[in-house]
């Protein structure tokens, strides 16, 4: 297997994977979506709420606020040694909010949330949580826990995780008249005209829609669009809770753990 990072920044990563099977790439994709844990507010105790939004709406908004996650120092509630429903300092983070509008209408931002651990804070300080009119108050205590995307989408560390086959475009140059019909129709602007000939400008952008083949006035078309076997382009966009490279590493660890468990079970049963 050969992996190449095509581009990467703080939240997104694009990988080219060669020599892997769909089953493996898809397993990793599904684990990233559903099983890589991340931190989110799970329980909210409203102490005072005189705002115009109901307690439930505020709790929902807090739950969806992505929190920076520290997977090394926190445990999943079910796997923590404390075995308590309420949680301990290794499986729960307390976050408080005490906001009041004294001068006039104001917006309360996620930056006003006070976390007991300065590492577990909202990804962005500028998320509007609620607007308070003069004299309105909001006071609450919230508990953030690790969780998995399969239990609630707020725990999904990725906002996009998808792969596609690596496209393969062949143009029979001796038959192409350079009419540029394919250049016009391609929604991804894959083609360009160079010296009265069609050439592939951006191969990776192709989404295999085949519009270019149909738009070509010549039948059969000199353009042949297909995909390479066992080569994929994987796109990961993190919500900011974890860096994308960490998410994919965690996914491989989880898959490995599941396979080991499976292997052990098989061994026990066969004996």
């Amino acid at each position: 297997m050969e992996i190449k990072i095509l581009d990467k920044n703080a939240t997104t990563m694009r990988l080219m994977i060669r020599g892997a099977d769909v089953t493996l790439v898809n397993a990793l994709r599904r684990i990233m979506l559903a099983e890589v844990p991340s931190m989110a507010i799970d329980e909210v105790v409203i102490i005072d709420n005189s705002s115009i939004l109901q307690d439930e709406i505020i709790a929902h908004r807090l739950g969806l606020t992505p929190l920076k996650t520290d997977l090394d120092s926190y445990n999943l509630p079910g796997e923590c040694e404390c075995k308590s429903e309420f949680g301990c300092s290794l499986c729960r983070v307390t976050i408080t909010l005490n906001a009041e509008a004294n001068e006039g209408t104001r917006t309360v931002y996620s930056g006003e949330l006070v976390s007991e651990n300065p590492e577990i804070v909202p990804v962005s300080d500028k998320i509007p949580l609620i607007k308070l009119a003069k004299g309105q108050k909001l006071k609450l205590e919230a508990y953030a826990r690790l969780g998995k995307g399969k239990n609630h989408a707020k725990w999904q560390p990725v906002s996009m995780c998808a792969y596609k086959y690596l496209p393969k475009i062949e143009i029979a140059s001796e038959k192409c008249t350079g009419c540029a019909k394919c250049v016009e129709i391609c929604p991804k602007k894959v083609f360009a005209i160079k010296a009265d000939m069609v050439e592939v400008r951006d191969l990776l952008a192709c989404n295999l829609c085949m519009d270019c083949v149909e738009a070509c006035p010549q039948k059969p078309s000199p353009i042949k669009v297909s995909w390479e076997k066992n080569a994929f382009i994987m796109n990961i966009e993190s919500t900011g809770v974890l860096p994308p490279e960490r998410i994919i590493q965690e996914a491989t660890k989880i898959l490995d753990k599941q396979l080991k468990e499976f292997e052990e079970q098989v061994k026990v049963e066969v004996k």
Partner: protein, 76 residues
């Protein structure tokens, strides 16, 4: 009511982009260009910002008005 924290469809965080988006739209900038510069690529996320109406501002007006009345009553 108020800008949702995340995109309904994909879960991308968009709440923190609303204020800049609304401010720039008010100055007359093209909405599509703003979304591009904010890095909102997918149309599910783009519609979150494009179609949002801050109704909470309209409702808060009643409370602001009530507060004003309370204050004027205190004055006299």
């Amino acid at each position: 009511m108020i800008i949702p924290v995340r995109c309904f469809t994909c879960g991308k965080l968009i709440g923190d982009l609303w204020e800049e988006f609304a401010r720039r739209v008010k100055t007359g900038e093209n909405a599509s260009d703003i979304l591009d510069s904010l890095g909102v690529k997918r149309y599910c996320c783009r519609r979150m910002l494009l179609s949002n109406v801050e109704i909470i501002d309209e409702i808060l007006r009643f409370y602001e008005e009530a507060e004003k009345r309370k204050e004027s009553q205190n004055l006299y």
